[in-house]
Amino acid sequence: MRKHLKILEYALSSLWRRKFKSLGIIAVFSLIIFTLSSILLLTYAFKREAMEVLRGAPELIVQRISAGRHEMIPSWYGKRIQEIPGVGMVIPRYWGYYYDPSTGGNYTVMAAAGRGDRKLEMLSGKYPPAGGEVVVGKGVAESRFLSEGSRIPIKGSDGQVRNFIVAGIFTDESSLLTNDLIIMSLMDFRDVFKTGNERATDLVVQVFNPDEVENVARKIREIFPDTRPITRKEILRTYDTLFDWRSGMVLTMFGGALLAFIILAWDKAAGLSAEERHEIGILKAIGWETSDIMELRFWEGFVTSSVSFLTGLIGGYLHIFFFGASIFAPALKGWSVIFPSFRLLPYLNPYQVVVLMFLTVIPYMAATIFPSWKAAITDPDVVMRG
């Protein structure tokens, strides 16, 4: 036991002795881990958030299209759709965007009655809001410094400013779903946006038999040529292609970083300097076992790679979850289409950490230990000849 501690001590002293080399390796190694972990954490966080969105997404949504653009849909469309065989409830949804000049933020405004598709367990405070009240997402509350009972002025389509009272705030359990949300009563919604009493933003159509969804969608298109039924499958497909394309890019980056790593490891393996070889010979000659030398190199590799791994991983974590993946931002512009609020929920998947470790720490350790093993099994008498 003491022996192992002493060899560890000697390993640390060796690393310290070659501090520039050690720090250089740690710097490169950390950078690679940083890149790899950033990529991994980012893709995973995206997938998670997207799945979160999709889980709550309705099977079939019907929008009205006018001149190729999304239009408000008259309520009687819903009554007609309900008559199609196999259709259950048709729930109108009321939502829109609101630009807040004072913060420059774009919020999603919804009417409480029309939220048939969303789950609202993450509520703190009161829900649903009564007339003159709103319930807001955490992002909204933060950017406007709101708490329960504060007032929030909202300017309607008629130019009039209405003061709403904050009745509740969504917790940030799924910030993606609720972050930029302002929910008010249907009456207030109609009043603010002047949508009229007979029009909804879109319709959620329940279909009893999931296999019938495509059929129902086709029928709706026949009856109302000016509508666009969107099935969940279609949404999934869109996400899928997007993910595929992104993953392809991400994989390229991942591969590149891994390649850089292999080069580092290989360089180290090939680069057992004459000096290092000589030192191994000396240790061997004065009575170190081959296994002691392996242990020495193991500790060196272990310390180097765990310091680098932790530094890189923590760096990647902070980069993705606290600095909004700022370094990748240019490559990821497209994401903001899906995720308006670019603030991912911090999450570390232990499985990924283990995978990353296996792909980097293990090969690195092998690359450290193997060449010295080759040097250590040779007879030490070479040191007798200098």
Binding site: K6, Y10, R17, R18, A285, G287, W288, D379, G386
Partner: protein, 227 residues
Amino acid sequence: MTNDTIIRAENLSLCINRGRPNEVWPVRDVSLQIKRGEVVVLKGPSGSGKTSLLSLLGCMSRPTEGRILVHGRDVAKLPERFLTEIRRKRFGFIFQQFNLIPGISVRENVMLPLYPVDISFREMRERADSLMDRLGLSGRSHFRVKGLSGGEQQRVAIARALVNDPEVIFADEPTAHLDTKLSSDLVGILEGLKKEGRTILIATHDPLLYEQGFIDRVLEMRDGSIR
């Protein structure tokens, strides 16, 4: 073989690059015995095989032919682990090139053979410090080896060879890098070690060393054999 025989070599031969055009036999058919407390010098011209024989006797390399018995045990056939153990527990080496590790301190260099031994750090340090005291290195304990003079490096190498309290000390051309004054200092140190009862094996072609009175035997080597 008496109990007093520590190392015994029987018809030792060493071949390098066997079967290839550059095949050489640095050691040919050498038989000898080293007794406890003896100081033996291997003398001979450059290339006569002194270093090669020393490294065979010191269990650093294996003979191509013949046997080496350490305390009656044929080590030539033992697994490497045992050879290492013998070097670690019984032998101390003073190399021609000193072979110190340049980046670490004098004390760490001296302690080097003790890292794989199951003793505490404190004991390691105590042993190293007392040896450095004895060899006049106490003020140098935290110096890097790089900055030391040749004589000081030599003494660090000696301290390292002694730190495991070895039975046998192997010294290969110990005066090669020393001037006359330092060489006679070294002779003094070796004499002291002999008085402690240690067995010493020296390879040298330096008359100043092999003509000393404390030397028990001089073996002359030529072309790998002892005459």
